[in-house]
């Protein structure tokens, strides 16, 4: 019996390394290729990190980068302002609404971004009428896109603490709702808020569908546009954007690993929105 098990362990190890090697090559190759491709022209990388030069040579790209960073920050703020108080409030006072809120928040998962754009087009005609056609107005649509992932993260954070007792304790000591939210609940779900914000930023930096079809500019739209004229530069920007998103998401998975709560791991990846 021991011999059988030892043989199986050996076989499994051989299998493991074969699979990892073959798939590893498949997954690493595009990155190697991107590095090689973007260094064919020696001035690409220095130019990318020389902001004044870059915005002069590629104004659309510079605009896209600025827009995307602003969109990411604003979406994260709007998402938190909208979601955290509502989630806390529903837990405390309206538990019968929890299923409804959850359903609404997860709804965008079954609506592909390309479908959402079709419905958003008339809504954005009004947004443009009231607020102008700035690319920053995309923040409204992006907040909807990130809702499922942000909700899951925040809901998992709230499940890990006893919101009700905390809030009652604070209230009985004379705290107002603002204090409860800002100084009691928020510090307790800090890591959940952080993961929701990270996911939001990573998603918004990768968004293309809505921006391109509503005729607004962001990083991905600019990269796509640039690809037609300067392939080297667009690959270099792609690589940088990717690495940035990867660092964010790796930090996120480290956060999640430390917390070790299985509920925080989204069973559905945020792919739908980025592809």
């Amino acid at each position: 019996m021991a011999g059988v098990i030892a043989r199986r362990v050996r076989k499994q190890r051989a299998f493991r390394w074969t699979v990892l090697l073959v798939l590893g090559v498949f997954f690493v190759l595009p990155f190697v290729a991107m590095v090689e491709f973007s260094t064919r022209d020696a001035e690409t990388w220095p130019l990318l990190f020389d902001w004044p030069q870059l915005s002069e040579r590629y104004p659309a790209l510079a605009e896209g980068i600025t827009n995307s960073l602003l969109q990411a920050a604003l979406t994260a703020v709007l998402m938190l302002v909208l979601l955290v108080p509502t989630a806390v409030w529903v837990r405390l006072r309206l538990p019968q609404l929890r299923r409804l809120v959850e359903f609404i928040c997860l709804l965008p998962l079954t609506i592909p971004a390309i479908v959402l754009v079709v419905g958003l087009a008339p809504v954005y005609a009004w947004v443009t009428y009231f607020l102008g056609g700035s690319s920053l107005t995309l923040v409204f649509a992006y907040t909807v896109l990130v809702l499922p992932y942000a909700y899951r993260a925040i809901d998992a954070g709230l499940s890990a603490i006893d919101v009700k007792t905390l809030a009652e304790a604070a209230r009985s000591l004379g705290a107002g709702w603002g204090t409860v939210m800002w100084r009691v609940v928020l510090p307790n779900i800090r890591s959940a808020v952080l993961s929701a914000a990270f996911l939001t930023v990573a998603l918004v930096l990768g968004e293309f569908t809505i921006a391109s079809l509503l005729n607004r500019t962001n990083l991905q739209v600019a990269i796509n546009f640039l690809g037609k004229s300067s392939a080297t530069m667009s690959v270099a920007v792609s690589l940088t954007a990717l690495l940035l998103a990867f660092v964010l998401l790796l930090l996120l998975s480290l956060l999640g690993g430390r917390r070790r709560s299985s509920a925080a791991v989204a069973p559905v990846s945020p792919k739908e929105t980025t592809t």
């Binding site: 491709f37 809120v101 079954t110 609506i111 592909p112 479908v115 079709v118 079809l213 990846s269 592809t275």
Partner: protein, 288 residues
């Protein structure tokens, strides 16, 4: 006093007004626009003409190709992803290898869109790294029979890049649910490895595998950006057809046909996701 609880309920509801107002405008209204628009005629009346337009050859072909592409990339992704997940499941659960690969899978599953398209252009594009290398060292022309990277085979290859990691994420928990005792029990009753896989582990894992494959299907079915960045000629897929309908408002009635196609996509995704959650329930019952 009797009225107070109710009053409290009403004021409590006020706290949720911003959230519900927001999702009403930016989520519910767009959904309704698609659903109602699919049945609205150009004069505002109710019509089935848009849905009938789904029956035209162009649209049917697009749906067929979208479904074929999603099925192939889901199948390949599911099989390779399951192999990788099994490789991880047999490794030390607290080991560095497993932790690194699952973290990488979590990150790569989100990798998509324009950047992924450019990554593959740099790899196997016309002047890509691998293309040039194969040409120079082995005199192999990757695109001897046409530039397939910008067509369905290319898209299927590119989609696999995010499908495999997604499969690892969703399938690994099911593999972890398999207990070593089951294998020992099979062996002590005289079963072979083949019998263990076909009679014990296979049937137990089948719902999880099928469910994960369905999720992968929905994932690539709703993908748009990667295809939009790679395919430059024509609109072979449904999302690209919808783009055509959205951007060419001049074509009479195209707008609402776009909505009908969008509704068709939602129906496909909803059916697939419903099956997925059904299979997911079975999985958690058997392997939870």
């Amino acid at each position: 006093m009797a009225r107070r609880p109710r009053l409290r309920g009403v004021t409590s509801l006020l706290g949720t007004v911003p959230f519900f107002a927001y999702v009403a405008i930016f989520l519910i209204v767009p959904t309704l626009v698609v659903v109602i628009g699919a049945f609205a005629g150009n004069d505002g009346g109710v019509t089935l003409a848009n849905l009938r337009a789904l029956g035209t050859e162009v649209v049917l072909d697009a749906f067929g190709r979208s479904i074929a592409l999603s099925a192939i990339s889901a199948l390949v992704g599911a099989v390779l992803g399951a192999l990788l997940a099994y490789a991880l499941a047999t490794a030390n659960p607290e080991g560095v290898l497993r932790r690194t690969v699952t973290a990488a899978a979590g990150v790569l599953a989100q990798f998509g869109g324009v950047t992924l398209a450019f990554a593959f252009l740099a790899t196997i594009g016309l002047s890509g790294f691998v293309t040039v290398w194969l040409q120079d060292t082995f005199d192999i022309n990757l695109f001897e029979n046409g530039v397939w990277l910008f067509e369905l085979p290319g898209l299927a290859l590119v989609y696999t890049y995010f499908q495999i990691p997604l499969m690892v994420i969703v399938f690994l928990p099911a593999l972890d649910g398999i207990r070593p005792q089951w294998r020992e029990a099979t062996e002590s009753l005289g079963g072979t490895t083949w019998q263990y896989w076909t009679r014990v582990a296979g049937p137990l894992l089948a719902p999880a595998f099928l469910g994960s494959a369905l999720l992968l299907f929905a994932n690539s079915f709703s993908a748009y950006a990667t295809a939009a960045a790679l395919v430059s000629q024509g609109s072979p897929l449904v999302p690209l057809q919808i783009r055509g309908a959205l951007t060419s408002e001049v074509l009479l009635g195209q707008q609402n046909v776009g909505k009908a196609m969008a509704l068709g996509m939602v129906v496909v995704v909803a059916v697939v996701m419903a099956l997925y959650s059904l299979l997911q329930k079975r999985t958690s019952k058997w392997l939870g």
